[in-house]
């Protein structure tokens, strides 16, 4: 219902370059040019396509590091492109949508898109998302930082626990499972459904509808200020995203 940029300035480092090849699939030439300009300014190599067919062909031949896909293409529905790409590639897909609905976003994420941006979005938002997904896709899970720090809180994956000022916090198994699922895919928005599936292992009992209540309880334990969460970010109507705080 709303597309106000969600405090994105906070995790953007403007000087950081993008050293990757990005494929843009969008039928609007102005958008393609503007996107290319923003990304190229930061060092990215850009290829673009105006149709889904052309885009899929380019994805196969160029093997890009990331795909920016407009959902409203003239020839093939964007979600078909998304599904076909996913069939053979793990390339991060950032979807652009002019539609204003959370249901649409959830559908795209569940289809295998890694992220979405609702038009009109800003360049800072775009660059931050692109960078986060490039980083995530190039880092294997084993290479994740063993310890994530946010203020006085430490999340230690080796010791499998969260600590405040060195003291272990009492997380229930479910809370730890939620935290681990999100933190290992940091920067990526997980839909409610994806979280249910990961944590409840596809047994959607009565508890799954209390996901938001579990998140609230978890935040109360690990967030420095639970009323202004920095680690577990809510994507309204869509899901949750774990954000690794930048070292100050």
């Amino acid at each position: 219902m709303t597309a106000v940029p969600a405090g994105h300035q906070r995790f953007v480092v403007p000087s950081e370059a993008i050293d990757a090849q990005v494929l843009i699939i969008d039928d609007e030439p102005q958008i393609r040019r503007a996107l290319a300009r923003v990304l190229e300014e930061r060092g990215a190599r850009v290829v673009d396509a105006a149709t889904g067919t052309e885009g899929l062909a380019l994805a196969a031949s160029e093997n890009p590091d990331l795909v920016v896909l407009d959902i409203g293409l003239p020839d093939i529905a964007g979600d078909v492109v998304c599904r076909e790409l996913r069939a053979w590639s793990q390339v991060p897909i950032v979807v652009l949508s002019a539609r204003h609905s959370e249901v649409e976003k959830v559908r795209l994420l569940d289809l295998g898109a890694d992220d979405y941006l609702t038009k009109p979005f800003g360049s800072a938002e775009l660059v931050a998302r692109v960078r986060a997904h490039l980083r995530r896709s190039t880092v294997a899970e084993s290479e994740l930082p063993a310890v994530i720090r946010a203020g006085s809180i430490e999340i230690d994956f080796h010791r499998r626990g969260a600590f405040r000022d060195g003291e272990r916090l009492h997380l229930t198994p479910l809370e730890w499972s939620l935290l681990r699922t999100m933190a290992t895919q940091a920067g990526r928005t997980l839909t409610h459904r994806q979280l249910f599936d990961a944590v409840w292992a596809r047994s959607h009992g009565n508890a799954s509808q209390y996901l938001r209540v579990f998140i609230t309880a978890l935040r109360k334990k690990i967030e420095p200020d639970p009323s202004a969460p920095q680690l577990i970010v809510t994507e309204p109507g869509v899901g949750y995203r774990f954000e690794i705080p930048r070292p100050a």
Binding site: P5, L174, R212, V213, R219, P226, S227, T234, P236, G237
Partner: protein, 484 residues
């Protein structure tokens, strides 16, 4: 048969009977004359009417007195022997004649009423089946002319004399009455009412006074009522057509709005991306371009949402959610707009999480709108307070500011779309949709939004949502789900 002929004929019959009986007057008793004569009088009065009956009774009376009562040949009421017979004869004849003619009159009247009723029923059916409301009204007018033998009948709409317009008019070629009464009779006017309100008039010209005399007032009233119904139906049809066109226009507006706001997003994206590029190149105004593009996008989005909500196209996803999550999301979303402004957040969750069943996105919109409103109307560094708590069966979020509050005059209007207080002189941006939208979204979820003045200045907006009453224990289903 003409009246005079009936009179002559029946008188002749009586006289012939008298003549036949004369030779037998010595032998025959009076009664044999009186009874046949009574029969004849009754027969005559049933054909020729009451007066003929009385006339023949008188003739018979005289004839009996002179011819059949002794002494024969004289008329005298002093024949004491037979006076009783005579008087009985006359009274019997008179009473029977009177009764007969009354019965005849009533039968005729009943026939007439039945015909009238039949006619009204047919008219009613006619009106219902009439292809247009004008045709229906014309049928009523025609019936009116017919019944009153009138020359012209017209139905007008409206009340003020100058605003009347003729909606149906019927002119009959030649009046059925024999006399030309056009000049002598003033037009009859019937006011037409619907729901106790005057909506028009029926005027009848050239009325035949005899026909008017015959027609009962209730018939005329019924006709006027028909005309009023027809006129009312005509106006309803006009209203319906108008409402249809309004609905269509409304639909078009929504479509245009949806398509414009959708199509605006692409150029707005380009503007924002290019503005950011310019900003990197050192262009100072570029940030402002981006901000204005955002503002434009928000305004269009607000309009679109409001028109969707009004069209009943608002779909809510009612899920178990917490106020804590809501406060956190609102804080994050508002961060860029609030800048250095101090926002205090107080979440009263000593008795467990603030759980409710509500639509997260819609509720977030409510809180964000309230915070934006608070930021807009209070000074650039004035603090905003946010309180989340439980109160009985309700979850409550309060947004408190130190702005000017709401003027007494504006209290009833702040939740009306596009209302902007005259008490606020500076332009605060926005289209005046934030609070109306918030109220609509709150109420759509079974909650509410109200304003109270804040002690020591400022506003308190209280957003309530129904609390969720499940017996929820954090961890009740919290076994190790998948160990690694």
């Amino acid at each position: 048969m003409k009246r005079s002929r009936i009179w002559l004929l029946s008188t002749a019959v009586v006289l012939i009977f008298v003549a036949i009986m004369v030779p037998y007057r010595e032998t025959v008793d009076e009664v044999h004359v009186v009874l046949p004569m009574l029969l004849m009088i009754l027969l005559a009065s049933s054909i020729g009417g009451e007066r003929l009956g009385f006339f023949l009774a008188a003739v018979g009376f005289v004839a009996i007195d002179i011819i059949f009562q002794r002494p024969f040949g004289t008329f005298s009421l002093r024949k004491p022997h037979d006076l009783t017979v005579l008087v009985s004869f006359f009274v019997t004849a008179a009473i029977s004649t009177r009764l007969l003619s009354r019965a005849q009159f009533q039968a005729a009247e009943a026939r007439r009423r039945s015909a009238e009723l039949q006619r009204m029923a047919e008219l009613g059916a006619d009106m219902l089946s009439a292809t247009s409301t004008t045709a229906a009204l014309e049928r009523v007018a025609l019936a009116m002319c017919d019944i009153l033998g009138a020359r012209r009948c017209r139905v007008t709409r409206g009340t003020a004399a100058d605003a009347q317009d003729v909606v149906a008019e019927v002119t009959v070629a030649a009046a059925t009455g024999a006399v030309d009464v056009t000049e002598t009779t003033a037009p009859l006017r019937f006011p037409l009412q619907a729901d106790g309100e005057l909506i028009g008039e029926m005027q009848v010209e050239g009325v035949d006074p005899a026909a008017l005399g015959r027609t009962r007032a209730s018939t005329l009233q019924a006709l006027a009522q028909y005309a009023a119904l027809g006129l009312d139906r005509m106006q309803l049809a006009a209203h319906a057509a108008y409402a249809d066109s309004l609905r269509e226009a409304d639909r078009m507006k929504d479509m245009v709005l949806a398509s414009v706001s959708h199509d605006l997003r692409t150029p707005l994206t380009t503007i924002k991306l290019l503005a950011a590029s310019l900003a990197r190149g050192g262009e100072g105004a570029a940030m402002q371009i981006e901000e204005e593009a955002d503002r434009l996008s928000r305004m269009v989005g607000d309009l679109l949402d409001l028109s969707r909500a009004r069209a009943g196209e608002l779909t809510l996803a009612m899920d178990v959610n917490t106020l804590e999550d809501l406060v956190g999301a609102a804080t994050r979303q508002m961060a860029p707009m609030l800048g250095d402004r101090r926002v205090t957040r107080r979440v009263v969750d000593d008795e467990g999480p603030l759980v409710g069943r509500f639509d997260f996105v819609a509720s977030l919109r409510v809180v964000v709108n309230l915070m934006e409103n608070a930021a807009k109307y209070s000074g650039p560094v004035a603090p905003i307070d946010l309180v989340a708590r439980r109160e009985g069966g309700e979850l409550v979020i309060e947004v408190l500011d130190r702005g000017p509050g709401v003027a007494e005059d504006d209290l009833g209007r702040i939740f009306i779309p596009f209302f902007r207080s005259e008490a606020v002189l500076y332009d605060v941006g926005g289209a005046g949709l934030g609070l109306p939208m918030a109220k609509m979204l709150a109420e759509a979820q079974g909650g509410g939004l109200r304003y109270t003045p804040r002690p020591d200045g400022g506003s308190i907006f209280t957003f309530t949502l129904p609390a969720h009453h499940a017996t929820f224990e954090p961890g009740f289903d919290d076994q190790a789900p998948d160990s690694d």
